[in-house]
């Protein structure tokens, strides 16, 4: 009981919110492309580019927010390249996404070598991290619960506020509606004079914006450094969440909280002297279990269609042979 108390406490929940933020932001970004009917596997690369250029920008300008803007600009450039290749030139989404991911990985390593002459990571060099927002009165009102709402970097707040905003966006704004229509029934959009190309470009760029913020959070948030492959699969986790949530903001939030919690929990377990190799598997075990449970309900389309057609076949047989077929 005592151990449980030490394991699960306010600090763990606050840590969960912190670790959830980057994956939530990148997944919400991916929600735009998912809803617009683009399978965007390039989230990982956009995030990584965002993290790297946020650090570069922060060093050059000496400002964390200017650094964040640089990171977002880099992610937008990747998103634009993705849109040009996929939307305009109709290249295969998976191939382009993978290529851009590899480009981001390689480019950050070579630039690191070229600019700083090092491999592995950029530390120091005057990187300015994002400030923590202390909400006035939180301590007085909430006491020991205050860390749940106060003391995060601005990007964490942005990530969680974005969820209800996206719900509103998809249900009540014209652009949100058009993004859904373009993804679900492009021929309907076309018939009504909605430009599919334009909507998909906008969705791709909105995705780049949030992926860039997520990257800036990684390198300027709680640790102010850049390391090789620092996004470490979060972009792919976001893709997995998007597949099972179909890009619905609330379901995306639920999936991201699960991953964030597993991440924070495993960090916690390490401090209690559990073997670190086992502890590091926790997020992946949770992820696999969750995806397995979800996939049972949200079966991929192809399985659903196969089942449906088999059912149809069986029901036709049943109707035709014994019931009204009646050979003399």
């Amino acid at each position: 009981m005592e151990i449980l108390d030490k394991l699960i406490n306010v600090a763990l929940i606050a840590a969960t919110l912190r670790t959830t933020a980057p994956i939530l932001l990148v997944a919400l970004g991916g929600s735009f492309t998912t809803k617009a009917g683009i399978f965007n596997i390039g989230l990982e690369g956009q995030m990584l580019a965002g993290a790297f250029f946020a650090v570069i920008g922060s060093i050059w300008t000496g400002s964390a927010f200017a650094g964040m803007a640089c990171g977002v600009a880099a992610a937008l450039a990747f998103a634009l390249a993705f849109a040009v290749l996929v939307v305009t030139f109709r290249a295969n989404e998976v191939v382009v996404g993978l290529a851009l991911n590899i480009l981001a990985g390689g480019m950050t390593i070579s630039l690191m070598k070229a600019i700083f002459g090092t491999r592995g990571s950029i530390v120091g060099h005057g990187i300015v991290g994002l400030p923590k927002v202390q909400i006035p009165g939180a301590q007085a009102l909430l006491g020991s619960w205050a860390p749940l709402v106060s003391g995060f970097t601005p990007i964490v707040y942005v990530a969680f506020i974005a969820v209800p905003l996206l719900v509103l966006f998809y249900n009540r704004t014209r652009l949100g509606l058009y993004i859904r229509v373009v993804g679900e029934k492009p021929e309907a959009a076309e018939a009504l004079g909605i430009s599919i190309t334009r909507v998909r470009y906008i969705a791709s760029l909105l995705c780049g914006l949030l992926a860039g913020l997520a990257g800036a959070h990684l390198s300027l948030g709680y640790i102010t450094m850049f390391t090789e492959n620092m996004s470490s699969g979060r972009g792919f986790m976001a893709v997995a969440i998007l597949i099972f949530s179909n890009g619905d903001p609330l379901k995306v939030l639920a999936g991201c909280l699960l991953f964030g919690f597993a991440d924070a929990f495993s960090l916690r377990l390490q401090t209690f002297g559990f073997p670190s190799y086992l502890v590091l598997t926790v997020p992946y075990v949770v992820a696999l279990t969750a995806l397995f449970a979800l996939s049972y309900r949200a079966r991929p389309k192809i399985i659903k269609e196969t089942l449906a057609s088999m059912q149809k076949l069986l029901s036709v047989d049943r109707n035709s042979s014994p019931v009204d077929k009646n050979p003399q």
């Binding site: 704004t173 014209r174 509606l177 004079g193 109707n319 077929k325 050979p327």
Partner: protein, 520 residues
């Protein structure tokens, strides 16, 4: 102004909603519309009727701005208009309900109706206002839908109502419907006709495309008949009889270019007894068909498209279950067999829609001539395909069937319609099957290839095959068939010997008039 349909005094004074003059549209060398004049009065229901390929949809697509005419002019409500695109058509008060619906399944009915012209308040979509307006319109015109329901959960009939609501919300005064009843049950069709009458009662104009005589007679004030891209006539529906209409549709000048033949009638190969089948809407489409086909005989099936011919062909080839009855082919009941087993039993099938069921358009000629017999020698040995033998065989077929292609490796999609059909014939007619089911063999095929296909069918007859030839072209049946059976509404109305095929008698039966009532 429309309360007295068919009354000539009103016609002369009523204004014209639509006037098309000399509309011509060519696709390559094919003339889809040839100098068509069409005048639609305000406040009438105007039916446009004709066989598949008569040019109905092309004409309406020109009116709605989806196609531009090569020649001719358009006047809307008396004003000369260039309909550059659908947006211009909608602005001019036209609305079109297409055959294929374009609705978004996850959105509500109201969201779909207002898609592209949302009602907004403070920049946000006002769902309540959209729902209220949708409900108001649906009540006014008897288009019963629940505006809040998700479209993905609704039936096709209701989807059509939503498409009509979309057109109404955009302020259409003239509504074009392209084969609206093709997807409806008879009950839904009757409700649709009620709605169309309520439009006319409010002074709106309805143009509807159909190839169903019944419904044209029931609901329209005026009917225009198209055939082979030309206008045959525009007449008051009340002054027309059904069989007059049929004869206008299928043509008076059936050319009796009958192929010479020797009597060869042998044993019964196919024996169909009281066969019934349902269509995709689960309605009876074939109702108690009984007939036999002997070896060395071509039996033709005539009828206006959509009277059960397609379903009959699908049952005989195993693609659709029979709901009752038998079809015996050489001692086996086809209604109990799979398509593969039916082919083994001795059926060769030239399907009506060759691009869907006849060929794989992306595959080579060689692969297409192989399909269905890939497991047999000489095309394969020990489970492995012998591509040398396959290509050699395809080369021989290209020669003997005169397929105009560069070689056996050519993708089928690069051939013309006639040559694609020859690929199908080459495969099916060299299978050694005793029974040939040939459905619309010359649809969309140029005259030269038509001749060659007819020659080939006669060669198969001379070789003692039993042939069932389904065609909507009377002259084709008159040229080839030994006997012609006429289908109407799923039943076989009667039989005419090919030697004295008489288009009046066939036309009567195609319109549903039983031959017994006629003096012989």
């Amino acid at each position: 102004m429309s309360n007295a349909p068919g009354s000539p005094t009103l016609h002369s004074t009523a204004a014209m909603a639509v006037e098309l003059t000399g509309i011509t549209k060519r696709f390559g060398t094919f003339i889809a519309n040839d100098g068509i004049d069409l005048a639609v009065r305000q406040g009438e229901i105007h039916a446009i009727i004709g066989e598949n390929g008569a040019g109905k949809t092309t004409l309406m697509n020109i009116l709605f701005g989806l196609l531009q005419p090569d020649e001719g002019s358009i006047r809307l409500n008396g004003e000369a208009t260039v309909v550059a695109d659908p947006a211009a058509a909608i602005k001019a008060g036209l609305g079109m309900v297409h055959q294929h619906f374009k609705l978004v399944p996850s959105l509500s009915v109201a969201d779909n109706v207002f898609l592209g012209m949302e009602i907004r308040r403070h920049g946000l979509i006002d769902h309540a206002a959209q729902i209220a307006r949708t409900q108001e319109l649906s009540k006014r015109f008897g288009l019963h839908v629940d505006a809040t329901e998700r479209v993905g959960l609704l039936s096709v009939g209701i989807e059509q109502r939503i498409e009509i609501l979309k057109v109404l919300v955009r302020g259409a005064r003239t509504i074009i419907l392209d084969e609206p009843t093709a997807v409806l049950t008879p009950q839904e069709s009757r409700e649709l006709f009620q709605t169309l009458r309520s439009f006319v009662a409010e002074g709106m104009t309805v143009i509807f495309i159909s190839h169903h005589l019944e419904e044209v007679m029931e609901v329209s004030d005026t009917v225009t008949v198209l055939r082979n891209g030309r206008k045959v006539a525009t007449r008051q529906t009340s002054e027309l009889s059904k069989d007059e209409l049929v004869r206008m549709m299928v043509g008076r000048e059936v050319s009796f270019d009958r192929r010479p033949r020797a009597a060869l009638h042998g044993d019964i190969v196919l024996d169909v007894k009281d066969l019934w089948a349902r269509d995709d809407r689960r309605l009876p489409a074939v109702r108690g068909a009984s007939f036999a086909v002997r070896s060395g005989e071509v039996v033709g099936i005539a009828g206006v498209a959509g009277n059960g011919q397609t379903e009959l062909a699908e049952v005989l080839s195993g693609l659709r279950p029979a709901s009752h009855g038998e079809a015996w082919l050489k001692g086996q009941d086809l209604t109990t067999l799979s398509p593969a087993a039916i082919r083994e039993a001795g059926l060769a099938h030239v399907p009506g829609d060759r691009m869907v069921r006849g060929v794989d358009r992306n595959a080579s000629i060689a692969a297409n001539t192989l399909m269905g017999r890939q497991h047999r020698a000489p095309w394969s040995h020990n489970g492995l395909l012998d591509w040398k033998a396959i290509a050699g065989n395809a080369g021989a077929l290209i020669k003997s069937f005169d397929i105009r292609a560069q070689g056996a490796g050519d993708a089928v999609k690069r051939l013309s319609g006639g040559n694609i059909q020859k690929v199908v014939l080459a495969r099916e007619f060299t299978n050694g099957a005793d029974f040939l089911l040939v459905d619309q063999p010359t649809r969309g095929v140029d005259i030269g290839a038509q001749e060659a296909i007819h020659d080939e069918i006669m060669r198969q007859r001379a070789a003692g095959r039993a042939i069932l030839l389904i065609s909507v072209q009377l002259d084709e049946l008159a040229a080839l068939a030994d006997r012609i059976l006429v289908m109407f509404n799923g039943r076989i109305m009667g039989e005419v010997a090919g030697d004295d095929a008489d288009e009046d008698r066939i036309g009567m039966m195609m319109a549903g008039v039983s031959p017994q009532l006629e003096p012989a």
